[in-house]
Amino acid sequence: MSFLPIFRDIFWLEVAIAAGVFLVIAVLLAVTLYRRRAGAGRPASSRADNLPLEIGYAVGLLGVAIFLVVVTANANHRQEQVQQAARAAPDVARIDVTGFQWCWEFAHRDGPASETGTCAEDPATRPTLVVPAGRPVELRLTSRDVVHALWIPDLALKSDVYPDHTNVLATTFTEPGTWLGRCSEFCGTHHPTMEFWVRAVPEQEYQQYLASGGASV
């Protein structure tokens, strides 16, 4: 599961930095507003510039920016490498995911299993994406009509789904479990109900699922 840990690391790092910056500015602002209020009787300063301070400050900011750029690019490359490794693994499970107005279709390349649904108001009409837990999975995403996006919020997995183009999401579901997946790119009338389930199952169960041609496990 390469996405969630990387997202968490960088997200909380940036939240911490942002919170620090916000706090410093908010405190500075509050203190200033109190100290320099007209009632306090301090006359306005006539100083209009302090170039050395400003240039020094800008250089400091540039340092912060470069730090963030490096961290960001690193995280991005790490994520790409994990995906590359997953795709190149010999035991990768390939699944074709097709979005359409307004539901999903999951076709497994390792067996004759394929599943789709109608994604109506009733949650029972949502299809299930069954994946093997513990080994790499490659989701090959494409669309039959408009742009959709596959999003599994709890796993921080997201990619846009385009017609006439295949995007790939490669990851490993380390533990068995069930999560909700959504369409996150606005795609028309029934966008809100274009949901699906993701079930990561043990290897044996996955093989049964494939052999049974997509019968529920």
């Binding site: 200033t32 385009y162 009338t189 966008h191």
Partner: protein, 565 residues
Amino acid sequence: MTATEPDRTQQDVPPSSRRGTAAAWLTTTDHKRIALLTLGTALVLFVVVGLIALVVRAQLTLPDQHLVSNDLYNGLFTTHGSGMIYLVVTPIAIALGLYLVPLQVGAPAVAAPRLAMAGFWLYLAGTVLIFAGFATALGPAAGGWYAYPPLNSSRYLPGAGQSLWIAGVFLAVLGMIFQAGTVLWTALLKRARSVTLMRMPVFTWSTIATNLMVIGAFPSLLAAMALLGWGRVFPDIFTENLWNIAYQHLFWFFAHPVVYVMFFPFVGVVAEVLSTFAGRRFFGYRATVVSLLVFAAFSMSVWGHHMFSTGQASNDYYSLTSILLLVPAGVEYFGFLATLVGGHLRFTVPMLFAIAFVPQFLVGGLTGIMVATPVIDYQVTDSYFIVAHWHYTLAAGSLFGIFAAFHFWFPKATGLLLDERLGRWQFWLLVVGTNTTFLPMFWLGLAGMPRRLATYLPQDGFTTANVISSAGSVLIALSVIVTIANVVTSVRDRRRPAGDDPWQGLTLEWATASPPAPTNFDDQHPLPRIRSFTPLLDEREREEGEERTGDDPAAHGGLRSGGSS
């Protein structure tokens, strides 16, 4: 002239008696009137489009609600989003410059006023087209404000409302390009002789940066709308990935700079308001001018950060350019804070809005760095986190800038002061309302709520935050009602004449009458001596210096002027 017949004497052309007629307003070439027409239209639309937002919030308050159908909901959020961006905040950002720049640079008129007026009419025509969608059989446009193909081709959204929207956006944006061009030309070439570049106020500089972005980036939207228009007639082109992605490039090449078009003028407004009510020159004027220009130049390179999740854009390039923007933004914030640190602060209503802008926009800016980070953006894009992020920039940021400008220059434009007490009510309602509405949305996004969701289910766990958010939107509505009451009572009662300079302003517009004469400065209100970007403060200090010592401090370098005088 005979005393017995005073009403039949020879008049100036145009006669002042005819200046108030509707025909005079609608064929005017006075930049102030063109700007007021544009600003007035935009403010009316702000209320209309805001009401639409209330319907959206009502629908989302509780799970599984169907006050409106999915399709109408899609039409409403599309109208809300595109209305606020194309028809409200962008026109206000540009027309504010149209009103103020000629005044601030001591010019009697805007360059090419008829072009500016054509800009207003095109904007109005675009507005009519977009709202005409509500009268068509299939309802208004329902493809979101960025109208991605293939969804927006005639195959998937066949309604005439969609085509009307495309044509309307095209015309409105064309109109804005016209207005922006005239303002830029005025600021660069039509200044009074004594107003050198480095004697222009921060606001004028911010409009230069803004309008350069308009010139460079807005035509890209015209191309995008033309492509989309082509797709309305020949929907087959959008079966090809190339054209879908090309549209996104064309669109975002416009749509990221437009975010800064909706931001920069308000940086200028906040700078003017803060320095006026701090009673001093804006600190770090030169650094701020440079940072505005650099910011604007870089803003042209960041558009691809809207396309990280497409898997078809260079993550590294766009995240590099986007994150680098924190340097010029940080320099502007330095100016805000440093101006306050050495100030003698008067907490008037415009000052309150300007102060609130600083921390609130900061939230939008800091979360902006997060969404410019691809590994974070993958998770939060197209979720309510993004919705919260840009509402912090636009509603908690630009809207506060708009109201700071509104309260600050309303006396200049009308000659009447607004009520301070109602203004404070408006301010506090808006502060509480805005933060209550948009802060929970960050949490909703992280909890997995996609944007543009017509409804959700109780088991999704989005209910609490949505209830809080909707309650906040009611406060915003109350705040707007208070504002309207404030304006109506002020204009109706005419009890509080403003005078030429109610705030002890720093820049040239406060040297002329309220409202200014048709050609801005006349014999009763000549241009004062201009030696820096705060000519009126220089004058006041000179008079005070003369009173104290009988001496002119400006004569021996007692004043630091930004110019090369």
